[in-house]
């Protein structure tokens, strides 16, 4: 788990950036872009978008914290 101060700073900044990204993805107006009665592969578009973005965000957060920690 030992990281140099520089790496820690970088990790912290990545996480803040991901937080801001998440705030943007999960709110108006981005949300309204997907708020149609359309379907993606049989799944409502909004629902598919939210879960897709959620998975992507979690993956990125995992990448940010686990990188170089092992």
């Amino acid at each position: 788990m030992r990281k140099s101060a520089n790496e820690r700073r970088l990790t912290a900044q990545r996480l803040v950036a991901l937080f801001l990204l998440g705030c943007a993805l999960f709110n108006y107006p981005v949300l309204s872009l997907f708020n149609h009665p359309a379907q993606l592969l049989g799944i409502p578009l909004l629902y598919a978008y939210l879960f897709g973005a959620w998975v992507a965000l979690i993956a990125l957060i995992a990448w940010a914290v686990e990188r170089g920690s092992d």
Partner: protein, 910 residues
């Protein structure tokens, strides 16, 4: 339908398993092999966030609002992205200060104020009670559904007699279980390893149960996601669920719920308990920042399919909060329904256990104990062991909290869906946000600020959310909703005429506005006093322990502190803790510990683990002769904290510089080794060069000495060789000495105005005989007016003679030609000695300026010089600020060129 006794048996078996896990984990922990010391277990135990709200309520919410259930889980995902530093900072501070609850945290931050701890406790208890009611409602609903069928839920008489109400028994069983579970012994650090292990297990159970029912509904009842949504799209009422209402208010409430859940996931007493107090290792936080959101995601995947599936299954009449049970039940899948029941039970027990344990700790440490200790008539200050009393208070607190939950359920539970009840609690704990996060990052928050902010936020919350929930269920007169005394401006859910927001956003806005305004406003009325500043240093700064120590102006002897600690945590454990502390300070015996502020601080933090920081401070103060704390020293530490950060940046900078310097040193070292090798080479070459003429001299001398019959002619020839070799030897030694002098900088230089043309001409004349002997043509092209340079005349002569004699050595006899010319350039004079000899290949053009390196192959050609002339010449030219180099192509002759700067005297004298 399942028999009631089967459900009861299953529940008891499940609770028994939980108990066994907790017992096993406690034993492992005592043996030093903690099972919860793993980041995955930590992340799973955080899953206590998912209660029956998630398990039953999300589906109900989804059935009403489509994706409206999701912000409650997106918020924590966002918060945990920041958790890597926010949560870790809280954990670090809490560990350093032995914080046992969120009330303790706030009280400790603002100068260990008992009043503040009490206020936070009251808010937490009042705020969380609806949430506990939610669990009771969900479990009793699930029980009723399983035992009596879905129709019963809707037809259920709201006012069943208490003794026939399953929720009442659920509350009693949960209270008994929690008391058994969480208050078996008093832990100095308030950590419950067994509980955490059981909670992690429960997280797995509820996720599995939800997955099973989700898979069953999606793939058993229907034919996959596409089928469910495809069919739903054809029913207009259900098609609406696929999209959110496209209005500003809808997006606003979405954002408000996200924000609310961001705060709640940190501030709910049970989340604080699991994430902070029960944290074994700070580094576990790193893994949880993505694993916990992943858990939330997984448990939500099937929510919408179940909701939509349920709505299609039951076109009307069945409470959507029970779909996870009723859908499998309606199809005769009783096993799945039973599993779901167990899953819901695990969600409820997890929440209730942790929440009530956290609340009971707060009630005991921050509410009851301070009051009892002040109540002199009880004589508590004379009782030798209070640890039993502490446990007793906690047990009662658990029972009372659960009964209050039941009371709320009876009063208001029927009027709301599960999620709506939970959100009321979320809004209550959100009131802690300014005091907690402000306290972590803002140094100037004061006790009054926190008190005012919390009170204002709490009152506004109660007025806009809690009381209306009573009014809606008929517990308060319904005209309350129209505003007190008919004042429309004060209508609880349209305060000051603010309409258009949903009730949660409305309450959140007004309460946090009041809260933050009061917190900041009152904090800025005065600067923090010594105690607040000291705690600010500990919380905001780097957690410098000195700030804690400095708050004690005086000391107290072990003889007073040890019994004091013993009264609360038990005499034996206190003695052990003091002995450990003595060892850590290098003192052999407990009684030999010096009675200083450090010891007092230790005793205080030991007590804080048992009775909370505020009470601990009061208790310790009763035996310490208190001198006023040193405000200046504390302020210095505060400043130091920022200086330390600056220093650490400086140190980083320095270490980078050091690395660069090390690299330079390594290069220098390499160079030195190279030079050392060169010196060895030099010495061996010199010896070799000296030996050649010496051998020759010795050989001829011996011949002359041993053979007297050599005729005169021969003798003369031998002696000629000997003289010649001696001359060479002398020249060699002279040059070596010369070079040594030049290199060491001890050569004697006489600098003056020198006419370069004269020097060149003179050198050519002195060597003209040699050229003539060898038949080499020497052409000299010199300007009439000689340029004047600042140099040593003899040394320049030496350079010229060396270049000229080199040239004549290397050209062929008879056909050789050497040309010398000098010309004045812009800033200096340039002299060229060019020949038509064999030339020097490019790779040798620098080598010939090294010592003992000669033109041509060393192996095939006989050496024709000492190999020191060119190095010496270059040293001389460079000494006078010029340059000496060679331009040549193999087979096309070589031109040795040197330049010298024009002397200043030369510019002015002419």
């Amino acid at each position: 339908m399942a028999q009631g006794w089967i459900l009861l048996l299953a529940s008891l078996i499940y609770l028994g398993i939980l108990f066994a896990i907790a017992y096993w984990a406690d034993r492992r922990s005592d043996a030093g092999r903690s099972v919860i010391d793993h980041p995955t277990i930590y992340a799973l135990s955080l899953g206590v966030y998912c209660t029956t709200w998630t398990f039953y309520g999300s589906v109900g919410r989804a059935a009403a609002t489509g994706i409206g259930f999701l912000p409650i889980y997106l918020g924590p995902t966002l918060m945990f992205a920041l958790g890597w530093f926010v949560l870790r900072k809280i954990v670090r501070v809490a560990k350093a200060n032995r914080i046992t609850s969120i009330a303790d945290f706030v009280a400790s931050r603002y100068g260990k104020s008992q009043l503040l701890g009490g206020l936070v406790t009251v808010i937490a208890v009042v705020g969380v009670i609806p949430y506990i009611a939610l669990q009771l409602k969900a479990v009793s609903n699930s029980f009723t559904v399983l035992a009596g069928g879905p129709d019963l839920v809707t037809a259920r008489a709201a006012a069943a007699p208490m003794l026939q109400d399953s929720a009442f028994y659920v509350a009693i069983v949960l209270a008994a279980f929690t008391i058994l579970f969480g208050t078996r012994h008093l832990d100095a650090t308030e950590r419950h390893e067994g509980m955490v292990a059981a909670i992690a297990f429960e997280s797995v159970v509820k996720l599995l149960a939800f997955f099973v029912v989700g898979l069953y509904v999606t793939y058993g009842v229907f034919d996959g996601f596409g089928d469910i949504f495809g069919r739903a799209a054809e029913i207009p009422r259900l098609a609406k669920l696929a999209v959110a209402r496209d209005t500003a208010a809808s997006y606003g409430s979405w954002a408000a719920l996200t924000f609310l859940s961001m705060l709640s996931v940190m501030l709910l007493p049970r989340q604080f308990q699991i994430a902070v107090v029960e944290n074994v290792n700070e580094s576990h936080v790193a893994r949880s920042v993505w694993l916990f959101p992943l858990y939330l995601l997984l448990i939500n995947v099937f929510v919408l399919p179940i909701a939509v599936g349920g709505l299609m299954q039951f076109p009307g009449g069945v409470d959507a909060d029970t779909f996870v049970l009723t859908v499998p039940l309606a199809r005769g899948q009783e096993a799945i329904a039973l599993l779901v029941f167990i899953g819901g039970l695990s969600a409820a027990t997890g929440m209730v256990i942790v929440e009530t344990i956290a609340l009971s700790t707060m009630v005991c440490n921050d509410l009851v104990m301070p009051l009892l200790l002040r109540w002199k008539a009880l004589g508590l200050d004379r009782r030798p062991d209070l640890s039993g009393l502490l446990l007793e208070i906690r047990r009662w607190a658990i029972a009372v909290i659960l009964m209050l939950g039941y009371a709320y359920f009876r009063a208001a539970g029927e009027a709301y869906a599960l999620v709506a009840i939970g959100l009321i609690s979320f809004a209550a704990v959100a009131q802690f946000a300014p005091a907690v996060f402000g306290g972590l990052y803002w140094k100037d928050g004061t006790r009054e600020g926190a008190l005012a902010g919390l009170s204002a936020g709490f009152l506004v919350w109660a007025y806009t959310l809690l009381l209306p929930s009573f009014a809606k269920s008929g517990w308060l007169p319904s005209d309350f909703m129209g505003g007190p005394f008919g004042l429309e401006l004060l209508r609880p859910q349209q305060l000051f005429g603010l309409a258009g927001l949903d009730e949660i956003s409305h309450s959140l806005f007004w309460s946090l506005l009041a809260n933050i305004a009061c917190y900041v406003g009152f904090s800025l009325r005065r600067s923090p006093d010594a105690r607040e500043a000291g705690q600010a240093a500990v919380f905001v700064g780097t957690g410098d322990a000195r700030a804690g120590v400095l708050q004690w102006g005086g000391g107290a002897p072990v003889a007073e502190l040890l019994p004091l600690a013993g009264r609360f945590i038990g005499p034996e454990r206190a003695r052990e803790a003091f002995a450990r502390y003595a060892r850590s300070r290098g003192v052999r015996d407990v009684d030999a510990l010096p009675a200083d502020a450090g010891l007092v601080h230790f005793a205080e933090s030991l007590l804080a683990g048992a009775i909370g920081s505020a009470s601990a401070r009061v208790m310790v103060a009763s035996v310490v002769e208190e001198a006023p704390p040193d405000l200046d020293a504390i302020m210095n530490i505060l400043d130091e904290a920022s200086q330390v950060r600056a220093h650490s940046r400086e140190i980083e900078q320095k270490s980078r510089e050091l690395e660069a310097a090390t690299a330079e040193l390594r290069a220098a070292n390499e160079r030195l080794r190279e030079l050392d090798r060169m010196k060895d080479d030099f010495i061996s070459t010199v010896s070799h060069e000296l030996r050649t003429p010496l051998t020759s001299i010795r050989a001829f001398s011996e011949m002359l000495f041993e053979d007297p019959r050599i005729d005169l002619e021969e003798r003369k020839r031998f002696l000629g060789i000997i003289v010649h070799e001696t001359e060479r030897l002398t020249r060699l030694i002279n040059q070596i000495l010369d070079l040594a002098k030049l290199e060491s900088g001890r050569a004697e230089w006489t600098s003056g105005d020198v006419n370069l043309v004269e020097v060149v001409r003179e050198s050519c004349e002195s060597l003209s005989q040699l050229y003539r002997d060898k038949g080499v043509a020497l052409t000299v092209a010199l300007p009439d007016q000689g340029p004047i340079v600042q140099a040593d005349r003899d040394r320049l002569m030496q350079v010229m003679i060396n270049l000229l004699s080199n040239a004549v050595k290397f050209v062929a006899p008879e056909t050789g030609r050497v040309r010398v010319d000098a010309e004045v350039e812009h800033a200096g004079v340039r002299v060229t000695v060019a020949d038509n000899g064999p030339g020097i290949p490019p790779e040798d053009q620098e080598a010939i300026f090294e010592k003992f390196r000669q033109g041509g192959s060393v192996l095939t050609d006989k050496p024709v010089g000492t190999g020191l002339g060119l190095p010496i010449s270059r040293q001389i030219v460079e000494y006078f600020g010029g340059r000496l180099w060679v331009e040549s192509r193999a087979g096309a002759g070589a031109a040795f060129i040197f330049t010298l700067p024009l002397g200043e005297a030369g510019d002015t004298s002419e």
